[in-house]
């Protein structure tokens, strides 16, 4: 397993844990649409902050390893990462646009009273998490399939 594959696995584990953490939080405390509980709101953001902090730490560790070891990544890893990033960007963009469209339709039908102030922030967060998760999953799938350098 190359260092890039390991990175993708760690990325997948961190962000899957984040999504599971959120799911548990919402299951235990109820809907996210109206934050009645300050503790729940902070737990939501702390989980997110912890996931992104773990991502930063992982990238720093991987960068140190890459600089110390010889030929740990090569053109195949870069080609896979490039293609996975491109696909993840497209997917994330589509998700964000679809959610913004849903937000716009809700606003047009019911006015601003139906839209909690947190929604735009949620959409940005969902876009970011989708980007990281899709990139990791796509990269791992591509490692098992035929890839061209170009």
């Amino acid at each position: 397993m190359t260092i890039s594959q390991k990175t993708a696995w760690v990325q997948l584990v961190i962000f899957s844990a984040l999504v599971i953490g959120w799911a548990v939080l919402f299951t235990v405390n109820g809907t996210v649409f109206y934050w009645q509980d300050e503790t729940m709101k902070m737990t939501f953001y702390w989980l997110l902050a912890a996931a992104f902090a773990a991502l930063v730490v992982m990238n720093v560790v991987m960068s140190i390893l890459k600089s110390r070891l010889k030929a740990v990544t090569d053109e195949r890893d870069k080609a896979i990462l490039r293609k996975a990033s491109l696909f993840a960007t497209g997917t994330s963009y589509t998700v964000v646009v679809a959610l913004l469209l849903a937000l716009a339709i809700t606003y047009m039908n019911g006015g601003s009273d139906n839209i909690p102030v947190y929604f735009p922030l949620f959409i940005a967060i969902i876009g970011g998490v989708t980007l990281v998760l899709t990139q990791a999953i796509t990269a791992l799938i591509m490692y098992g399939r035929k890839v061209n350098h170009a």
């Binding site: 397993m1 030929a71 740990v72 090569d74 061209n148």
Partner: protein, 70 residues
């Protein structure tokens, strides 16, 4: 457009070169062992540069390592 395929004789050439290991070839060509494995399994089509480096590692011409089929 007809489908094309790039085959290679890396596994054969490794054995013909004193059973060179994948790791040894990877070091000579400047890539990872996983890329050599992917090449041997036909799961990766390399850049021209890497193809030349692999051919050079065996001391043969590019055409002796990679074949283009239509």
């Amino acid at each position: 457009m007809p489908s094309t395929r790039i085959n290679n004789r890396i596994r054969r050439l490794r054995f013909d070169n004193n059973e060179m290991t994948q790791e040894e070839l990877a070091q000579r060509a400047g890539c990872t062992r996983q890329t050599i494995i992917a090449l041997e399994q036909g799961k990766y089509v390399p850049s021209i540069e890497l193809a030349f480096k692999i051919a050079k590692a065996f001391g043969v011409a590019l055409e002796e390592v990679f074949q283009y089929e239509e």
